[in-house]
């Protein structure tokens, strides 16, 4: 394990990168997942392909800073620049192995809210909305979300399901409702990694990040969260992972913000 200091964002990126398997077609999204893709692609997943809903497929990650997935450095070297609906076709056919979704709020069944806090007719907070989040949640084979671990973000029940995880948590909820993919595989937070029972259900703590405790996780989670029987410590970023992260975010815009 590396002795180097690292930020919590760097840890999250490293953990996220390990979710990417070689050969995966990845719906990349923005911010930390872009870095996670870059790290994976340059280590254990050299044949992964990245999809961007704006209408791009890439192999190599962009080598310049991206403010959005549509920025020119993300187009340079693209394998395919096309319509969003063509990219979505691959998603709808079940060909996307892994998707990343950003979220403001997640609940114990992995449902994400990026739309409304409070009554949608007169919301307390109007969030930006789904973008492609719901599409990824419904159609990708598995998906992962990254989030700051705060009690107001990890709630018992989201007030509005933008991107469905396991719905009401009952077994087979996704299949019964016609959702295509397997749902959320992990919630990577600033404190821990949460995972779900096979086939869906309530999130549990699979591993706690180095230096963090399960007690902290419990106090920052709005439901009575359980630990896995084999709960472990999240492996810290390796030197290689950190080097790769810092290569793709040299200014630390995303990981040292």
């Amino acid at each position: 394990m590396s002795e180097a200091p690292y930020t919590e964002q760097e840890l999250m990126v490293a953990v996220a990168s390990r979710e990417i398997r070689d050969g995966d077609l990845v719906f990349v999204g923005m911010r930390l997942p872009i870095l996670a893709y870059a790290v994976a692609r340059n280590s254990h997943a050299p044949t992964a392909r990245g999809l961007f809903e704006v209408g791009l497929m890439r192999d190599q990650p962009a080598t310049e800073f991206l403010g959005t997935m549509g920025d020119p450095p993300n187009v340079a070297g693209a394998l395919w620049a096309t319509r969003m609906s063509n990219v979505m076709a691959l998603l709808a056919q079940g060909l996307v192995d892994l998707g990343f979704i950003g979220g403001a709020e997640v609940d114990r069944f992995g449902n994400l809210n990026t739309s409304y806090v409070g009554d949608p007719a007169r919301p307390k907070v109007k969030l930006p909305g789904s973008g492609g989040g719901a599409d990824i949640a419904i159609l990708s084979r598995r998906w992962v979300t990254l989030m700051r671990h705060e009690r107001r973000r990890l709630v018992k029940d989201v007030s509005f399901i933008t991107s469905p995880g396991f719905g009401d948590g009952s077994p087979g909820w996704r299949g019964r409702h016609g959702l295509l993919g397997g749902g959320p595989a992990a919630i990577i937070t600033t404190l821990c990694v949460l995972r779900f029972p096979l086939g869906g259900g309530e999130a549990y703590v699979a591993s706690v990040h180095p230096g963090r405790t399960f007690a902290e996780v419990r106090s920052e989670t709005a439901w009575d969260i359980r630990a896995a029987d084999d709960m472990s410590e999240t492996p810290a970023p390796t030197d290689a992972e950190l080097a790769s992260i810092r290569r793709f975010d040299p200014g630390g815009f995303w990981t040292r913000g």
Partner: protein, 281 residues
């Protein structure tokens, strides 16, 4: 045609207007600002995401309804004018028809083919279904009902005077928005001779019969990027996010960058476009 003329003629009050159809790139900010200057009202904005343009038009009071997948500021987060309108009805209340990126694309394809709807798995299991009458459950599927814009405003790299528009980079929902719309306004970096674009008829985006106006407006997408021309002006988005946190801040921003300016060239004289220019295509 000048931008002022194009907006005057083809974007009436109450129009359903598709903008920002390439997602983050090629957003027709200059057209949006002219709409604001002409104090257009009761528009329905249609798009996937909009990276601040919809937020500005909402804050300026032009908008009655938003039919979109995402409204905010992509690198900075929330759209503060969108928040104020949805949460407090400031400057006016708006109707929101939530979509996903895929569903708004399907809604436009349905309109393009004059199909009443396209059935889809998206957005099954999402509460978006309850917030948009255009997304209707039908057994195990969602009927994504057609959305037909009155006008699509599309910024492109080059176009000729006859409306043969060519753009490159990721295309988002550009093609289906233009086909679905009753008419298209093109704003372009370069107004070129027909021979330039017609050398590559495969790259022409829309049938010229849909194109109502072509406006030469170099830099008209700033602060959004234009592949081969300009990078995204991240700082401008950051400054806008800061300024628009309060209504007063937004109003001051709008005066400074839109209302007090006669046209786009004055706006551009205050921007260091050279610093954003791409070195190669």
């Amino acid at each position: 045609m000048s931008m002022a003329q194009a907006i005057e003629r083809f974007v009436p009050d109450g129009a359903r207007v598709a903008m920002g159809v390439a997602l983050e790139p090629l957003i027709p900010f200059a057209a949006g600002h002219e709409i604001i200057r002409q104090r257009r009202r009761d528009l329905e904005l249609v798009g996937p995401i909009s990276d601040s343009l919809f937020d500005q038009m909402i804050g300026a009071g032009c908008v009655r309804q938003v039919t979109a997948a995402w409204v905010g500021n992509v690198s900075e987060g929330l759209g503060h004018c969108y928040r104020r309108a949805a949460e407090q009805g400031i400057p006016r209340s708006i109707v929101i028809h939530d979509h996903t990126n895929f569903s708004i694309a399907l809604a436009l394809w349905a309109a393009a083919w004059n199909a009443p709807y396209i059935p889809s798995r998206t957005p099954l299991g999402s509460d978006i279904l309850n917030r948009n009458p255009g997304l209707e459950m039908d057994g195990d599927l969602v009927r994504v009902h057609a959305v037909r814009p009155d006008v699509a405003i599309v910024h492109v790299q080059r176009c000729d005077a006859e409306g043969h528009a060519q753009a490159w980079g990721p295309m988002g929902i550009t093609e289906e928005a233009g086909l679905a719309a009753s008419s298209v306004i093109i704003t372009c970096e370069d107004l070129v001779d027909p021979a330039v674009v017609l050398r590559h008829p495969n790259r022409v985006l829309f049938p010229e019969t849909k194109v109502a106006a072509v406006v030469r407006e170099p830099g008209g997408a700033h602060p959004s990027p234009v592949q081969g021309y300009f990078n995204r002006d991240h700082a401008f988005y950051r400054d806008y996010a800061q300024a628009s946190r309060t209504r007063e801040g937004f109003d001051a921003w709008l005066e400074q960058w839109v209302l007090d300016l006669p046209d786009r060239s004055t706006y551009l004289s205050r921007i260091d476009l050279g610093a954003l220019r791409m070195s190669d295509e």
